[in-house]
Symmetry: C2
Subunit: 388 residues, 2 copies
């Protein structure tokens, strides 16, 4: 992860990654090369001969070579990255969100404005119509508030209507929200959400695979939906017409192996039709947020286990409360001790914990999740403190 | 089938059947004996030795023997049967409804007040809460009207609320309705439905397995629901609380291999909860009656095919419109010609057609169904006429 820099120079790896992003083309090809060579700068250094040696088909070699010859790291993106709380996370970097990594067709990189550790937290996508009924908007708020109360992150697409209601209710309740944009991370869309965009940067995370400055383009929105679906443990559709973007997100979530839930409604409400369609097609019918939470608790436990394995930083649970995976780990782990010292009895923000421990945001995030599950740590309004 | 009699004597078979009904006990045992000996009078004549020879276990022989020694054909039932449009259909009789015969635990016999040929028509059960919302009541009416418009019979349990709305809307639309009671066929329940009871006798069919004069008994109502489910091609639950009789009917319908549908509603409507439970458990979510009709059209075609095979009275279709089963049959079938002559270009009631042709109500009913499917016959307000 590349964050705000103290001096004028952007690190070469980020510059190389920006150039690979600007080149465009298949994410899969560029991700594969990055994985093969161990970084963006190394992909560029390997050149045509190296890519060929790596087994890249000749037409893909030619396409990437042509695209890169015209691509530079965009100055606007370089400038954006120098701002505080602006981050770029590449496919090869440890902070790349693990659930998104497992999804089909993951993006090469993410621009994040705000707190990138949220992308490691279990989150639920709350999506729906841009023009919901008052009841649908209220349901979106109710579900979001209930997810916040359970310590879950709420994701959405910052569209008008249900998305906006979900983000706002989450922030109003002191919760953490992720907005995945179809524009660049610095382009609020729709324009009416300029203030919401700023609020989310301050208390959540704005996520986009598009270069800073990228305006709204119709085909980017379904693509945005795939990232939202991929980041989320589950997707809840609150209200949706028979054909709508929310149904695309739901389909993508289902293809990513994530649970999809839909809220039923009156048969006389046209905005219940999309939800009814989803339920007929196999989505779970949910009448309350608690039903979603109950249904996904195994996935959340599995996510915690994955994070633990990936980090190799096992933590001894205070008591057996969930998965077997947490057994056999030790509270005497040095990182754990470091984090425990960094925590106090007053709520502390994630950013401060990262700063105090020198650990990555991802490591701190997953350790906190495990400690929350163990009951050692409480979180309140996105801040953490010892429970004893 | 035993109908109104011209003289004072009730036929011996009906008297024997009434005595078997009055004896009570397992329907399955008595149905098996009737099937083995070919009639109720013959079961009584066979006696203990005959039942034993037939392989009936000794404890069942003893129980039936004891029960019959105390049982007589009840005079109230004999008197009821002498009234016009009152019928008793035993398990061994050709008029016993074929769908009910295939259901688990079918009743030994049915008392029918009204038109017994309706029990051979494809019918949809419309059931739900006794205390529905105004919207639920309106949905019940809408669904019933749409079923009538498609020529389907609407069944229900004549309870307050959804059941009553379904029966009334069906009759108001000139359709045919079956009410399955948990009381005797002559005991309107609830009392507020006394007038509806009389309307159904006049323009539909009241069905009960209980002897005339039997008052409301709590455990009879779930048993009533099994008959409603067994008679129906499908069951639609309009509105239901989390625990309700409608859910029992739905479960029984599902156990009988019949399709179950439920109408979703707002998550804030407590009477949508039962429907949502059913949908979670596998019932079809339906937002309109047409969806039900589309879903059950194969079952209706199969029913027509069954009736045809059972009657051995194949009818040549005017054109290929549905099942293959109707091919290879002949319009020169004598019964078909008889029925065609009995039909005219003015709507004629089923009772009149039975009288004119001398055929059984079941035969006329299934032939009319096939001719309707072929487009040779139209029905309107429960009456039939030639379409050409």
């Amino acid at each position: 992860m590349t964050g705000p820099l103290d001096d004028d120079s952007t690190d070469p790896e980020s510059l190389a990654l920006l150039r690979l992003i600007a080149a465009g083309g298949s994410s899969a090809v560029r991700c594969a090369l990055i994985e093969r060579f161990g970084g963006a700068a190394r992909v560029l250094a390997a050149g045509v001969a190296g890519w060929r040696d790596a087994g890249l088909p000749e037409d893909a070699v030619a396409a990437l070579s042509a695209a890169l010859s015209a691509a530079v790291a965009p100055p606007t993106a370089i400038a954006w990255l120098r701002e505080p709380a602006h981050h770029l996370i590449g496919w090869h970097q440890d902070d790349y969100p693990p659930l998104l990594r497992k999804s089909p067709n993951p993006p090469l990189a993410l621009f994040v404005a705000g707190d990138p550790s949220l992308l490691w937290q279990p989150s639920i996508a709350v999506v729906g119509s841009r023009g919901p009924t008052p009841g649908g908007r209220e349901n979106a708020r109710d579900f979001a508030r209930a997810f916040v109360a359970s310590g879950l992150v709420v994701g959405s697409g910052m569209a008008a209507g249900i998305d906006t209601a979900a983000h706002e209710a989450t922030l109003d309740a002191g919760g953490r929200t992720i907005a995945v944009l179809g524009t660049g991370p610095d382009v609020p869309y729709p324009r009416g959400n300029t203030r919401l965009h700023a609020r989310i940067v301050g208390a959540g995370a704005i996520v986009s695979e598009y270069l800073p400055g990228t305006g709204p383009v119709a085909f980017h929105f379904p693509s945005r939906n795939r990232i939202l679906a991929g980041l989320s443990v589950a997707t809840v559709v609150i209200e949706a017409a028979e054909r709508s973007g929310a149904l695309i997100t739901a389909r993508l979530a289902s293809e990513a192996g994530r649970e999809v839930f839909a809220v039923p409604g009156s048969i006389h409400n046209p905005l219940a039709r999309g939800c009814h369609r989803l339920i007929r097609d196999g989505a779970g019918l949910v009448a309350s947020a608690q039903e979603v939470i109950d249904a996904v608790s195994p996935q959340i436990a599995a996510l915690a286990q994955d994070l633990q394995q990936q980090l190799g930083a096992p933590i001894q649970p205070a008591a057996a409360v969930g998965t077997d995976a947490r057994s056999g780990s030790g509270v005497d782990d040095p990182d754990y001790q470091k984090l425990w010292r960094a925590l106090g009895h007053y709520p502390t923000a994630m950013d401060q914990l990262v700063q105090r421990t020198g650990l990555t945001a991802a490591a701190v995030s997953s350790m906190l999740l495990l400690m929350e599950l163990d009951g050692r740590v409480f979180s309140q309004h996105g801040r953490y403190f010892r429970s004893r």
